[in-house]
Symmetry: C2
């Protein structure tokens, strides 16, 4: 690494000499007493911690250990072995039981389970991912797609780590398009077995966490092929099967060929691998048969008649992994911001006007503009994430008879949108934090560089962010209609075009606090103050509605003009993605407003109000071209937004430390030599 050469701008103290102006540099701390500050931090944390705050505190207490941090000196084998060791420790402490129903051997607190996994993100993202694979994805498949015979046989062993599994969905040729998976599971009535097979190189299971080394069994997604009496064998779509892949000594079982994905951009502790199946036979009972079964004679049965609905119902139960990934990305971003903000508060560069010292870099507006809007957005996302986790808990805790398909659908869409929004934010945040810490940020001893490598793939796994954002947009345009599930892109376009004109359905009821704020604000957003919360909501809602409406119009006009439906779709793809993003940002804002509304502490609520303003102003600034182009904001107001971001940064600057302290990252997980001598 070469050395920075300085820019010719060094201020010398003598020339600046303005010691008499206390506002020259924003004071490094706010004017609260230590006690007041501690209480404020506690109140902020109460808001951020949400419903499962006691789970958070338990993990904080147990995870406040520097030995949980990634150690870059470990070899790949050592890193993986260490991760398994840490998981065994978690298992011994009953970490995983919450994710499984009480009558399966768990304690049945899904929200606590997600929250606990999220908190692992403060320690080591490899630990979170490997735990998420075992207990969330593999365990979740058995729990949610299996029936009593699977629960009885597997769940306790999964919780205790007596059975190590992996989640073999993605193939080399198919990631986003799961319905097109090539692996086959062909029923053989003669032996009452399924024959698992990889018919081509692109059918190879790929990137599978745990398949590289530790997993002895895989939840394999494959096309179920069977024939009832008198039928021709045919595929009934993708189903999930429990398939042993290794013996106790780690050797591949007959017909199974595993290989290792090797070195990656991060997540050194996760043993990703590949699996090829050559006519591997498993007993019929290994089909996870909650939603479909095959009788001894090969007859296929399912309580869900429509194959698309069946497929999406099965996938929908696996939403937990996606929500965990979003939650953990949030935690990682908050940790990075804590490290970078603390460094920015002690790192000095260039002489201060009062000549006695240099300026703390956090006092430069450019540095504030780097970090504070990201902190504000992290607050907003944390609140939305808490709501999402809570909604997942409610939906998946409901008795089967009480299941609500519409609510499930909405949850899936929100999970997709927030996963994309939160992981892009986290990846960007960690990048910015690394750069804000200069050369120190690049040293693994200060953690940010490791986190940067680890977080990268969060934008890809559990659903590519672009594909997920598009899903949100599509759901909005087709108003969450059940009828579009399984439609082709072209079919979807025709459906949307055929819908009633200008339909914009709000599937969930507008929450009370939003309704009240909307009623208290002027419909003409230009007539009301931009700090008015109702006006802020209106701007976000108007954008979303406008994008959905005009996207639908665009599709209609293009199709009416006789264009090919796929081409029509493709030409509007960027529009559709933008609609999806705008929707999620609105959802995030309203969650944040709800959390502030529910905050009992006046001083915390007041500070959170400023944070919310900064979130809104930054979001408006980032998308100002759109607001101006669509005359949703005037030029004068646009300039006010730009000024407003600067002013809010300066207002929040004295609270920077409090704002990141409230994230509650355990102190020992913030170990970084750069914070000892900047």
């Amino acid at each position: 690494m070469a050395t920075p050469i300085e820019s010719p701008e060094t201020p010398t103290a003598a020339e600046a000499g303005v010691t008499d102006d206390p506002e020259a540099v924003t004071p490094p701390t706010d004017d609260l007493s230590a006690d007041e500050r501690a209480l404020l931090v506690e109140n902020l944390r109460f808001v951020l911690d949400g419903r499962w705050r006691s789970t958070r505190d338990t993990v904080r207490e147990n995870a406040d250990r520097a030995d949980l941090l990634p150690d870059p000196s470990r070899t790949l084998d050592e890193a993986r072995a260490r991760m398994l060791e840490e998981m065994r420790e978690l298992a011994q402490n009953g970490f995983a039981a919450a994710g499984f129903a009480t009558d399966h051997g768990g304690t049945g607190d899904i929200g606590a389970s997600i929250t606990a996994i999220e908190m692992l993100g403060y320690a080591d993202l490899s630990l979170m991912v490997k735990s998420g694979v075992q207990w969330g994805l593999f365990g979740g498949a058995v729990e949610n797609l299996g029936t009593a015979r699977h629960h009885d046989r597997y769940v306790t062993d999964i919780i205790n780590l007596d059975l190590l599994g992996c989640f073999a969905m993605t193939e080399t040729g198919h990631g986003s398009n799961v319905q097109a998976l090539e692996t086959t599971a062909t029923y053989d009535p003669a032996t009452q077995e399924f024959v698992i097979d990889s018919p081509s190189p692109s059918a190879r299971k790929d990137y599978i966490g745990g398949a590289g080394q530790h997993a002895t069994v895989a939840a394999v997604f494959a096309q179920l092929i069977t024939a009832g009496p008198g039928e021709e064998p045919s595929s009934r779509g993708v189903h999930c099967f429990v398939v042993p892949i290794r013996d106790a000594d780690g050797n591949d079982l007959p017909g199974v060929t595993t290989s290792d994905c090797g070195y990656k951009g991060g997540l050194a502790g996760v043993d990703n691998g590949r699996i090829m199946f050559d006519q591997v036979r498993v007993p019929a009972e290994n089909l996870l048969n909650r939603y479909a079964d095959v009788e001894a004679d090969g007859t296929y049965t399912s309580p869900i008649e429509n194959p698309n609905r069946r497929f999406f119902t099965m996938l929908g139960t696996l939403i937990r992994g996606r929500i965990s990934v979003a939650a953990t990305a949030g935690a990682a971003g908050r940790k990075a911001l804590t490290l970078a903000t603390r460094y920015g508060l002690i790192r000095k560069q260039f002489e201060a006007p009062d000549a006695t010292d240099e300026i703390v870099v956090m006092d430069y507006i450019a540095h504030q503009r780097k970090l504070l809007p990201l902190i504000a957005k992290s607050y907003a996302i944390a609140c939305a994430q808490n709501e999402l986790t809570s909604e997942l808990h409610e939906v998946q805790s409901a008795a089967p008879d009480d299941s609500d398909a519409g609510r499930q659908r909405q949850l899936e869409s929100d999970a997709a949108g927030i996963k994309a929004y939160a992981t892009w934010h986290a990846s960007n945040t960690i990048n910015v934090c690394r750069e804000a810490c200069g050369g120190a940020g690049y040293l693994d001893e200060n953690q940010l560089s490791i986190m940067r490598g680890d977080i990268d793939v969060f934008t890809t796994f559990e659903g590519d962010n672009t594909v997920l954002t598009q899903l949100v947009g599509k759901e909005l345009l087709s108003a969450y209609s059940d009828d579009v599930q399984g439609l082709t892109t072209a079919g979807w376009v025709r459906f949307v075009v055929g819908m009633a004109r200008d339909v914009v359905v709000e599937k969930t009821a507008v929450r009370q606090v939003v309704q009240t704020l909307l009623e208290g604000s002027d419909e003409d957003t230009e007539k009301s103050n931009l700090t008015n919360r109702g006006t802020q909501i209106r701007l976000f809602r108007n954008r979303e509605n406008h994008l959905i409406r005009t996207c639908a119009q665009r599709l209609r006009v293009a199709l009416d003009d006789g264009n090919d439906a796929f081409k029509v779709f493709n030409n509007a793809q960027d529009h559709l993605l933008k609609a999806g993003q705008a929707h999620t940002e609105r959802v995030v804002l309203e969650s944040f407003i709800q959390a502030i509304n529910d905050c009992d502490s006046r001083s915390a609520a007041e500070l959170l109000g400023k944070v919310c303003d900064l979130f809104v102003y930054s979001a408006l600034e980032d998308d100002m071209a759109w607001f101006l182009m669509h005359r949703q904001v005037s030029v004068e107001r646009a300039k006010a937004v730009r000024r407003g971001v600067n002013e809010l940064c300066q207002e929040l600057r004295p609270h920077a430390r409090s704002l990141v302290d409230a994230f509650g990252v355990p102190e020992k997980l913030l170990a970084a030599p750069m914070l000892e001598h900047a």
Copy 2:
């Protein structure tokens, strides 16, 4: 790594069925014959390769070896040893001679030297950085700050690697602010030695490439303290000294304590380290004394009287490192785009309308929008970089008597601006490319994840990008005046405010092609077609001029209102940064236009014209809020720009492969299993 779950949008072939529309999906290849395409690629490459194309071809030929690629399985020690081995091979082939003057033992072709180092970026960024430290930074310090006694003694050994050096400028406490370095070099007339000392922990030399392990000598930047007869000892500012740090066995010399920076976010082959000096004595002749000297009795002399000018003159000679880093970042971005584009052209996902296969992801407009604007910007930057390298060559090849201070100053500013612009672009590009390749992109075997780690610190070293961008802005506002060198920030504000009103000085003459294009376009940009090159230049120039003028006004008004000068500066910092960015983007555009103008091939020039349009449209789109807010672009035109980006992406889609092939990355350096079976 968990597995992506699909979004419910799978198109089935049956529903789409539109095989009769050849435009439904943009054809994967253009309609040129293989020969025509090859010639087009060759002509494009001729433009991109620039003046030192023969150097590029030589390196291409020699570096087309997969064994030069980084190998993530190497331990830190192995990676470093391998890098040294590769450097020794380079040295044996005379790689480094071009960077040094013929009468010092080199071959004196600075442009070739920079270009050769840039080309190493296609192989391994660690190799480029370690080579850059040895030959560019350490060698460059000896070459440019030393005199005959140093050239005679060191240069041949530096070229041959018989002397391994490092460049010890940055300290733990000071990176951007070099003038405030704490290390001291105190002259002792009794022994005619300098005493090198690190007076505090923050004076420790830090992040120094080579200091971790291999370097036996350091070019140490330190405050020179001396006293002539009858004077009190005082600091004469930062100077550079050759200081041995290790013996031949690698042990620290007496008084020297080195330590290792250890694991980093990338650049595994570079041994970054730290150095503390405890009263280390070196002979007086070890002062690199081209710009200042100390006589035996301690009298300080310099041909440059003004201490600030002396300091910045010394620093200015070291510009080569910054230009190499910018050039290499460009190469890295081009390699990433080549990998991602090739993958995008074979990776398929979701069924195509004609039912026979799935759609190549590059046919989705969202994917085109990810990659093609980055390709366009890479073209523009490559052209600007070639001009910058050429200008460096001219300035540093000029006889000392012909040196032109104004031209040097302009070069430094351009180097700062393009370094920031190019490295941010490269970092962003590699991020996007990784994500565009999904899970495959995260595997080190496909290179992008390694490149992502390596490129990260390019935005920091050789000058923090924010500080560099600010430097450009400051130079613009003070019209490159010599008088501002060494002024404090506050002093600079006062200088700018005191200048003639609305001064916007174009220091370099407007180049002929730009002048002609400007004359051929309407002054009212709205009245002329947006593909008019003169209009494009006007838009970029108007933005730059407006930002400079209004920033100066803003400073003036704020200072007139009696505000503290530092606060005035700080409040306008984001405005100043934007002015710097706008300037660099305009410079890049004009370089690109020049290169297209000079292109002999009509078909290549025509395609480059589209690429230039996409660069311009994307840049306008990225900054559209500004153009709208300042009424430089109408709402209607803004919408046309957005549509235009989509249209240009679709027009360039058939040429995607040609455009990246023209980068001329050696085939064996593009080894990536993902390209064998997508």
